[in-house]
Amino acid sequence: MKELNDDMDQLFRSSLDAEESPVRENAWNRLDHKLNASELDVYKRKTRIYRSATIILGLLLLGGGSYEFLIPARKAVSENKTTQSPALADRASKQNEVSGESTGNTPDNLNNTAHATNRPSFVINTNTDKLVEKRGTDTRQTPETSHPNKHSNRIASYPVASIIANPKTQTTRTSASPLSLAANAPASSGLMAKEHGTGTDLNAGLETEPIGTLLEKQPGLMMPAIHEESLVPLSSDGQSNAVATSGTGTRLSRFSVSLFFVPDITGRHLTKDDDEDDKLNGPDDDFSERESPSFSYHTGVKVGYELTHRWSIYAGLSYVTLFQGLKATTVYATSSNNEAPHFVLNTSGGSAILPNVNGPPLPSDSLSIGARSLETLRFIQLPLLVQYSIFQNNRITWYALGGPSLDVLVSEMIKVEIPTPTGSGEVHTITGITGVNHFNLGFMAGMGLKYNLNEHFNLFTEPVFKCLLTPINSNTPVKSYPFSYGLSFGIGYHF
C-alpha cells in the first residue's frame, strides 16, 4: 500500500513539478501597483517618524528651555541640599590673613562667627571648588590655580549661582536689599555687586573684595539666592554689556559664522486656483496622487551677529535641492499654434516637453511614463533669521529661530523614464520646465541646541520647518507651495 502511494506521489510530482504555467500580463501590473503603494507606505512611515522626531525634539527643546527660563528660582529652593563650603571659609580666612585682620574664622567656625554677629553666613550649594567666571552670554569654570590673584580682584570667584544666605541667622529674608552680581566689567575683569533700589553703588568698595569680606563689612546685609539669570553684565561705566570676553580678558566679537547641512523631507502643498476651475477637469488635477514627496537636502553658511546676550540675527546663503518623485502616468500628445504635436508632462512645478523617442506623435497619442521619474528644483536661499536664546549656560544654549528667506531658482530639471519600442525604459533628462517662478519668498522656523566645544567652536542641531510663501509656479490651475521638515547639523565659529 505504501509503495502504491509513493508511486502515485511520484507520478504527480514528475508530471507537475517541472511544469510552467503562463502568467497574465495583468499580474505584473498588479504587482507593480502594489510595489509602488508599498514604497509610498514606507516613505510615509519614514516621513511620519521623521516628522514626529522633529516635533518631539522641538517640544523637548521648548519645554527644557521654558523650564530653565520660567522657573529660575528652582536653584535656590534646595536649602536642605546645601553644604557649607570649606573653600569659601578657607578663602575668607586667607583674605583676612593677607589683610592682617585675622578674625580666627576657620571653615569650622565661620558659621558660628556669622551667628554671633547676626550676619548671614555663607553656604554654598556646590560640589566643586572650581571658580566661575561670568562672561556675558557664557559662564566658564576655571580651576582656582589659574587665578593666582583671585582673592584680590574678584568678589565672586566661587560658584556665584549657588551662593545663598543662610536663613537661620535672619528673621526675615525679604527685608534685606537684594544684591545682584555684575559680571564682565572690563575694568575689573571680575564680578561686581550692586545694590538695587537704593541707588547705592557698592562697586567701589566691592571690586577688590570678596563677597565674604563685603558682608563682614556690611552687618545686616543679607545675601538672597543668587542665580545666573540675575547676573547682569556691566561695562566699566555700569551699563549693560553683552559682549563676551575671553579668559584672558580679550573681548570676543559679536560675529560668528556657521556651516550646516540639512537632510530634509520635502512635500508640496497644493491649492487650486478658483479662477481656473474649468481647467481642473482634465487629467492634470491629481498631482497629489501622481507625485510623491521625497528626501532632499540643503547646505550652506550663515553669519550671525549678537544683538544682546539673548537676541541674535543671522543672514546666510543656502544651496537648496528639492526632489519630487513622479509616479507612473500617461501623457498625451498635444499641439498648439499649428506646431507639430508633442508629449507634454505637467507637474505641480511646471510643464516639460518630452523628447520624441519613438518618433513624432500624432495628436491624442498617449505615452506611459515610468515610475523612475523625478523632478529636481535647485534654489539659492538667502535667509534672514532672528534667534532668541531661551536658555544658556557654559556649554549648552537652547534657542528658537525664525525668519523670512528669498529663494532664487537656479536650475530646474525633470528626469523622466520613457518606454522604448523594445519595452524597456530609458531615462531622459529635460532641463527646461516652463511656468516655474524664479524668485520666491519663504519662511523658516525652528528650535536649536548648541554645544560649545571651546571658546570659539560649537556644534549645533536644529529641527527646522521651511515653506515657500509664494507658489513656485505661475499660470497653472494648481498652485504649488513646497515645504520641508529638516534636521540641521552644523558647526559654528565665534570670532
Binding site: D7, R13, L16, E19, S21, V23, R24, R30, D32
Partner: protein
Amino acid sequence: MFKRLRSPESEMNDLIKLCSKNDRRAQNELFRLFSPKMMNVCLRYSKSREEAEDTLVEGFMKVFDHISEFRKEGSLEGWIRKIIVNTAVEKFRKKGMLYATLHMEEIKEIDFSGPDVLSDMSADELMHMIQALPAGYRMVFNLYAFEGLKHKEIAEKLGISEGTSKSNLYDARAILKKEVELSRRQAKVSNE
C-alpha cells in the same frame, strides 16, 4: 580586444542587487524569469487561477521586500519557491480551511506503477485534480508529495495534529485515485 563575458551567476547577482534597490526594471525581469514556474506552484495550492495569481503577487511582494536577505547559500529559485509556498500556507491558515471533512466511499485500489495510468493524462488534467481537492487535503498533499515534508513538519506548519495531517493525506490520495480511475474509464470508453 577581448570582450569581457559575464557569467550567468554574476548577472543574477547584479539582478538581485538591483532588485534590492527597488529597481523596477530589474524586478520586472526577475518576475518574468521565475513567475511561470512559481505560477505552477501557486496553481497547485489554489482552487482557481485567480486565487493562484493572488498568491503569486503576494509572494513576489515578499520576495522583493526580503531579497536583500538572500544569502546565496542555495538557488534563488528554491528560495523564491519557499516564500511562495509559505505565502500559500499563510493564506490557507488565515482562511481556517484546514479542517474540511469529507465522507469517503470505499476507493478501489488502483495500481499506479504501470506506465499507462498517468502517462496519458495531461499536466492540466492532473492540476485540475489537485485543485479540485478540498483546501486542507490539497495543502497536506502538496506539502507531503511536492515539498517532501514529514507529517510532523506539516503539522507544525499548518498548526494541526500529526493525526489530522495523516488523515488529510489519506483522504487526498483516495480522492485523487478515484479521479484517476474515473478519468481512465472515460478514456477507455472514448477509445472504444
